[in-house]
Amino acid sequence: MAEISMSAGRFRRLGETDRPSVEIEVDGEQVVALEGDSLLVAVLASGRTLRRSEFGDGDRSGFCLMGACQDCWMWTAEGGRVRACTTPVRAGLRLITQAMSEDLWPIPA
């Protein structure tokens, strides 16, 4: 039976824990989250960090939580990109904390 972590995380859950659990994968490892979690909370409550800075200055774990700083982007196993603070968890999502390619920030025409 999958259990959510209550204390080991970077973020601590203070309530609302009576929600169904959802499983996702981060860098190939299973992470148990709760329905209604943002991806950011799901990952940080499990004790991991969100991403590696592309500029070589270490791990990052988001900053503003309101979709403004863009310091919480993660990558999906399918090659997509998600903003972890504004994206809700979805069962089966496979996330990656490090960019695979250089082509990161396309500007649309």
């Binding site: 601590r12 943002s38 409550a45 200055d57 939580l65 809700p88 396309p106």
Partner: protein, 452 residues
Amino acid sequence: MIIVGAGPAGMRAAEALAAAGIRPTVIDEGQLSGGQIYRRQPVNFTRRYEALYGADAKKARALHKAFNALQGRIDYRPETLAWNLRDDVLHIVTDGVAAALRFDALILATGATDRLAPIAGWTLPGCYSLGGAQIALKAQACSIGARPLFLGTGPLLYLLAYQYLKAGAPPAAVLDTAPFAAQVKALPDLAVRPGFLARGLMFRARLRAAGILIENGVEPLAIEGEGKVAAVRYRTAGGTERRIACDAVGMGFHLRSETQLADLAGCPFLFDAATGQWRPDADRDGRTPRAGIYVAGDGARLLGADAAEAAGRLAALAALTDRGMEVDMAEVARLRRRMERLDRFRRGLATAFPWPARLACAVADEVIVCRCEAITAGNIREAAVGKDAPELNRAKALSRIGMGRCQGRFCSSAAAEILAEARNVPLAEVGRLRGQAPIKPLSMATVKGERP
């Protein structure tokens, strides 16, 4: 007519337009309406309004109810980003599908984000903006750590520390860069909102009673840790150096308006010397000199949530008047008086919780100012002096400061200070970063399309 933003300002604007028989389109990036202060929790969360919004529960409930009641009379588009504005056309994207909306009138109620100054170590995992730390609690029932420390200045600093205490995550300390004397000096202006003042004092008293250290007039020196936050080092008002262990930091220095769309619309901006920030020029009703463009709420002037509601209504009434429609002038007069009173409060806030310009100027060369691309204070100084950049946009071209994916939202206040200091010119002279589309990064898969 289009409204961007479904916070208190945008919601009240929508209500006023709908009451006049107009069906406005309301664009908001969030999944749920409410904006910052009245942000809603996910639908499967069960905390009550009183637990979520404290003393503001009644206002939150009233506003949510009023907006829900508009269903069917407005074209509300959640999870939709307004990313560009050109020639009276607003460009939006919903779930990867882009569309262009022509408008006669556009009310920008885009709100604010935290205003930041860099501190050594602020990119460490575990360091968040004060607003971010509040969203963790409000929207996700989480604390940012087991022993969070709150640092910076502004009303949110104390409110948040109190909210964490009440939620069962007592802060390690509250470190305010503003001297206590500044808060005393601002009392007459802050007294315009007696309730606000009383609550501020109550927060302090409760934190103290819980044994939480509150320090005023501090100089933050560094956020320390290996791979995660472990401590904050600072200098007290008395000049002693101290270090407090913690596993998370919430930091921020009051707010800055989201003004990118007003900028793309070609609205002229004014420099506000009291706060050192630029804001879109507008009359007391929110009319900008660009015909058909209105600004309201924190995105126009940082007056707080009550004023945002009034400003949203005022801007809507202004748009209706400009369309030749009859509006209740007695209500307009009442709203204007209310806004004037609250503007005094805004000045009080600027006095009580001053932006720490000196801290920003003095930041060491090796400290990262731009979180997006790890551009340092030294890089900016090099652009300012070595490469002779007279203003921010030139400094941006030369150092990449403000070019990252947050578009300068979190570095530009400090970058302007560093540039002005390095060039030895007044802050207003280095100007402001020009807004650029897309104002937030779009998904790689964005396609053109027309929403049914």
